[in-house]
Amino acid sequence: MNSFWTVVGFTLKNKFRGKAFTITTIIIALIICIGINLPYVFSQFNSGDKVTSIGYIQSAQSEGQATGDQLKAFFEAQEKPGVKLVSYDDKGSEADNEKQLKQAITDKDIKGYLVFGKMTDSGFPEMTYKSEKLLAFGLTSSIQNGLQVIRQGTILKDAGLSTEQLALLNAPIEIASVQISATEGAGNMGEGKTKEEQAVNMGLVYFIVILLFMAIMITGQMIASEITAEKSSRVMELLITSVSPLKQMFGKIVGMFLVGLIQITAYVLVIVINVKLPHNNEMLEKYNIDLSLIDPMLLIYSVLFYLTGYFLFATLFAAVGSIVSRTEDLGQAVLPITMLSLGGFYISIFSISSPDSMLVQVSSFIPFFAPFVMLLRLGLTDPPVWQVLGSIGILLVTIYASVWISAKIYRTGVLMYGKRPTFKELRKAMKAYKI
């Protein structure tokens, strides 16, 4: 047991001493900081320049003049108008008018202007919005909305409805959706999840699945490449004559696990600190996100699936790392494992809107997908306890099997040099070694 912890300690020490590791961690932490604060930064930039000014020609002759005035009144009546209409005097000819408006754009008084044409059946004249910007969809749609309301108002007023009745008509309709479980669920939420909880959980599941995937891939790759490096530098011959392969492999896996854990803890801390900053708290409130709604059971399950997922994939990565003798060949050799974890990851991410589908239910029992997919089900639906336990059970059995096989492959593989061994060679050699 003593030499096991020596291996763990050595792995940890070397990772933390390496410059590459420290630099990547700091860079990723910085990216996280920037990413979290970006919405706030953007909102700071936008707030000063929120109202778009649009010009139009106010002339008695023009058919569109009434519409322009109506729009102006409509936007002025709004609490937070996104658009402001500015009227310009008629210069007599169309060309002069255009010239005047274009001049206004150059002077930055307005962003664009509306040109009214012939009257149409809709009750409004033909309208063209001219500006220097491409695709001003947001703007035209708010003008469209305005026109819609104006027309409704006119028609309904003609029908003799009062203002109160109008307000009633326009009042928004809300449906509250609560997710419940008909049977006894695995979570503790007998009263079901409210909409806010669901939103928070969905975000959390998204976040955890990505974190899980990253952690498995990054640490897994590190394990495989370290083993291959030990093999190619022939340190392996010394190591294997000093300590049993099983201890050596697990020392490495546990060491890397601690490295990954410390790294993730650092990232999570960075995230929590950033989210707790006062200005970000306001942002969260604005979007109705209350982080205290996170279900603690979900976090516990996340840790559980992180552990099982990590050890399952780490042992496989170790086995593959031991077969390859050169670091250049490693990328190709780990591809099948990468595909496996990628499969689970994608099933989980793309099923986030349909966490009840057959695909999700079935794949939550396939050990290589289960850590990702079962987490999705736990976060967004309420799977029966036996299914969750069954899934974890299958995972544990698979981990046991993969530990055994990987240890065998490791013992065999670390001494095989030259070309990658065929399955037949590997199987034959595996029989010869005790772990």
Partner: protein, 301 residues
């Protein structure tokens, strides 16, 4: 009982027999030489002794006991290809390797410093392997194999890639180890090292043992076939003597091949008649000659 006994060990890789029934015993404070051309099975034999691979037949005993994980601590190994982490500080990795073999961190540190001083390179303590030359890497590799004071040390091509000064340094260190009672199994291509260090040898050729035993006795089995002669003046007619197979002229004199030792006396008489003699020697065959004779010059690198 000898600390290391190898008995009738056979190893097969698929259809190919890598080692075919090798047996030898190495005593305490003895250096045993394992010779052979490339691919003769030396490294395979050593790996079996280390427990890296298992023999198909036969038995290897360490102090009378079969292989077990406890034996690992008594073994030291210097692989043919330098097996160290290139990017990790020497002190870190050597102490790590020593710890894995069951000695405390403090002892390991002390031993390492002592060894670095012994090799007159204390400044390597904080260096990385990749910063060192090949020969100096070899020194560190050697330290890694003996830092935990093993009872049995296995040195695979220990002196390859070293300059003459370092070869002497390492040789004297190996002798010290031997004198302190360490059992050493040693493989090399360099016959002069074997002649200097080893009491008993085994010559392997294409997986088979072709010659085995005490070095002196082996040499006695081979006839003395060479005479070295240095004289004041030229000596003529050596070729005409019966029993002389060939005569080579060198700067220092003549090297004469003879069919049996008795011819030596004839040569001496013949030479004395013509000149004063500065040197006359009937030479023992060198191990190099014996090796080439038994293995055949073709497969020697």
């Amino acid at each position: 009982m000898n600390p290391l006994i190898v008995e009738n060990v056979v190893k097969q890789y698929g259809d190919k027999t890598a080692v075919n029934g090798i047996s030898f015993e190495v005593g305490e404070g003895e250096i045993y030489g394992l010779l052979g051309a490339n691919g003769a099975g030396k490294t395979t034999t050593m790996r079996m002794v280390l427990g890296l691979i298992y023999q198909d037949e036969g038995e290897i005993l360490y102090n009378g006991k079969p292989y077990s994980n406890d034996q690992l601590r008594n073994l030291g190994y210097l692989p043919e290809e330098r097996g160290l982490y290139p990017k990790i500080r020497i002190s870190d990795q050597l102490i790590y390797l020593a710890q894995l073999r069951g000695i405390s961190k403090k002892d390991a540190d002390q031993n390492l410093k002592r060894w670095l001083d012994r090799f007159e390179v204390p400044e390597y303590y904080n260096k990385k392997i990749e910063e060192l030359s090949k020969g100096n890497q070899q020194k560190i590799g050697f330290i890694a194999s003996v830092i935990h004071k093993p009872k049995i040390v296995i040195l695979d091509e220990a002196f390859s890639g070293l300059d003459p000064v370092n070869v002497e340094l390492l040789k004297s260190t190996v002798k010290e180890l031997r004198d302190s009672g360490t059992t050493i199994l040693f493989s090399t291509h360099r016959m002069e090292h074997v002649e200097e260090l080893c009491r008993n040898i085994t010559i392997l050729h294409r997986s088979n043992v072709v010659l085995k035993g005490n070095l002196k006795e082996i040499k006695k089995q081979f006839p003395k076939e060479r005479v070295i002669l240095s004289t004041e003046k030229e000596v003529s007619g050596l070729e005409q003597l019966s029993g002389v197979t060939h005569v080579d002229r060198h700067e220092y004199g003549y090297e004469i091949g003879i069919s049996n030792e008795a011819v030596g006396a004839d040569i001496l008489r013949h030479a004395l008649a013509q000149s004063e003699i500065r040197r006359f020697e009937i030479k023992e065959p060198t191990l190099n000659e014996i090796f080439i004779k038994t293995v055949g010059g073709d497969s020697h690198e």
